[in-house]
């Protein structure tokens, strides 16, 4: 077993035995889905129009809400310092953390969200495109959430600040994610184009976030 596998294993075991943020994220997601029609009115036609966007917004906010604690326990008990002293580059450590977050929170939520589309009267033909866009985007969403957590670790009121920093970075993903959910909204009528750009965004995050998160965490350790 090498260092990275050990790190992923330790985090997964902790999530399995002590519960994860995924449950809270799901609960928050459901709460947002509840509030939207109560606030906007139960008109089914209106809900059908805003369903893809609403589900995307709810997804982003739920992931952000659950992101605050990603590095918290490691920061508090001194693990973070030790993690810089292994032979694994710290960027890889940050990437491993992001991978665990994606597997336990980002991906499950992205799979679940379109299934709950019926609550917002999502047209059935949009479920599959929305699922595709959310899964492809979920990697980028998780990575950016981890970046936000790295930037705000240890701060007492880090949650709102995390959202403030990361929400603007989510905008491109939101735009292309929603546009990929139906040919009517997609670029040039082809959802595939939006999905491709969404994928590119996720891959760009895959490269940039480990570097940025690693730098942010090391700055916190100073």
């Amino acid at each position: 077993m090498n260092a990275v596998t050990a790190l992923i294993g330790r985090d997964l075991k902790t999530v399995l035995r002590q519960g994860s943020s995924a449950g809270t994220a799901v609960g928050f997601f459901l709460a947002v889905v509840l509030l939207l029609p109560l606030g906007l009115g139960p008109d089914q036609a209106l809900l059908a129009r805003i369903a893809p966007g609403s589900l995307w917004v709810a997804l982003l906010m739920s992931v952000l809400l659950a992101a605050e604690g990603i590095f918290q326990s490691d920061y508090e008990d001194g693990s973070l310092e030790l993690l810089t002293m292994g032979e694994t580059p710290f960027e890889i450590v940050a990437l491993a953390k992001a991978l665990v977050h994606w597997l336990t929170t980002g991906l499950p939520l992205a799979v679940l969200a379109p299934l709950l589309g019926f609550l917002l009267n999502l047209p059935p033909d949009q479920v599959l495109p929305l699922t595709a866009s959310m899964i492809i985007g979920s990697l980028g969403i998780s990575l950016l959430a981890v970046l936000g957590a790295a930037i705000t670790v240890g701060l007492r009121r880090g949650g709102p600040m995390l959202s403030l920093i990361i929400l603007p970075l989510y905008v491109p993903m939101l735009v292309f994610g929603v546009s990929a959910s139906s040919p009517a909204t997609a670029i040039g009528g082809e959802t595939a184009a939006s999905l491709a750009i969404l994928g590119a965004l996720s891959l760009a995050a895959l490269v940039m976030v480990p570097i940025a998160a690693s730098a942010a965490l090391k700055a916190h350790l100073q």
Partner: protein, 240 residues
């Protein structure tokens, strides 16, 4: 009642009772399903789909019943200060959440042929959805506090505060204009359904109740044993 507060005695009693309850549940379930699927007549408007009622309505009843049970158990725990009362609520919660989910899902499946939509945000459905969220929030409290002694107290507060939703769910169809049909069983003036439908409904309700008791007894056993293991581990660490 005081005697039952002793975990060892409770477990022994539970182990004795459980097989009988399971047996009764199976019998009632088979009987109820037979009556529901074979014997009960078709609805003149809905046809066969009305049979979802026999799965949906008891589930909704149980969702409300279990939450009330949880609130009661926590109340008893706070008054009599027996930890096992709080554990009783904790053990019941996941089962109640599943019943709520079942009610929502079967209701949705019923709603599609009946109303033409999978979901609508009317008073009854919204308050049941809120009930589901309350269950999730309650479970989140236990999960967050883990082995902490404070968990029981905080969970009590969450359960008791959320209890206000139970009467809202029940009377929502009466208080607000609703797509969901108004009360037809527990209402002033007695049930408005014919006995050929009422009988299978009650039998299914009893079967669900039996299912709850069986699962709850199992959950209680698991909870008590888990705590015992933890205490043994602490003792083992203390001896070394």
């Amino acid at each position: 009642m005081q005697k039952l507060a002793n975990p060892k005695l409770f477990l022994r009693l539970a182990d004795m009772v459980r097989p009988w309850v399971l047996g009764a549940t199976i019998v009632l379930l088979v009987l109820g399903l037979y009556l529901a699927i074979v014997q009960a007549p078709q609805d003149y408007q809905q046809g066969e789909t009305v049979r979802i009622m026999f799965v949906h309505v008891p589930a909704a009843w149980m969702a409300l019943f279990v939450y009330s049970f949880m609130a009661l158990a926590h109340g008893a725990g706070l008054v009599f200060r027996h930890p096992i009362a709080h554990i009783a609520a904790k053990a019941a919660a996941p089962i109640g959440a599943c019943f709520t989910f079942l009610a929502l899902a079967t209701g949705s499946l019923w709603g599609k042929p009946m109303w033409g939509t999978w979901w609508v945000w009317d008073a009854r459905l919204t308050s049941m959805f809120v009930l589901f969220l309350l269950y999730l929030g309650y479970l989140a409290v236990w999960s967050a506090f883990g082995e902490d002694n404070r968990a029981a107290r905080i969970a009590s507060v969450v359960a008791l505060v959320g209890f206000i939703n139970v009467p809202i769910v029940k009377f929502s169809v009466d208080w607000w204009n609703s797509l969901h049909q108004p009360a037809s069983v527990l209402r002033a003036g007695g049930p408005s359904i014919d006995s050929s439908l009422l009988t299978p409904l009650f039998i299914m309700a009893l079967a669900y109740a039996g299912l709850f008791v069986t699962l709850w007894l199992l959950a209680m056993k698991a909870e008590v044993l888990t705590r015992r293991i933890h205490q043994m581990q602490v003792a083992q660490a203390g001896e070394a």
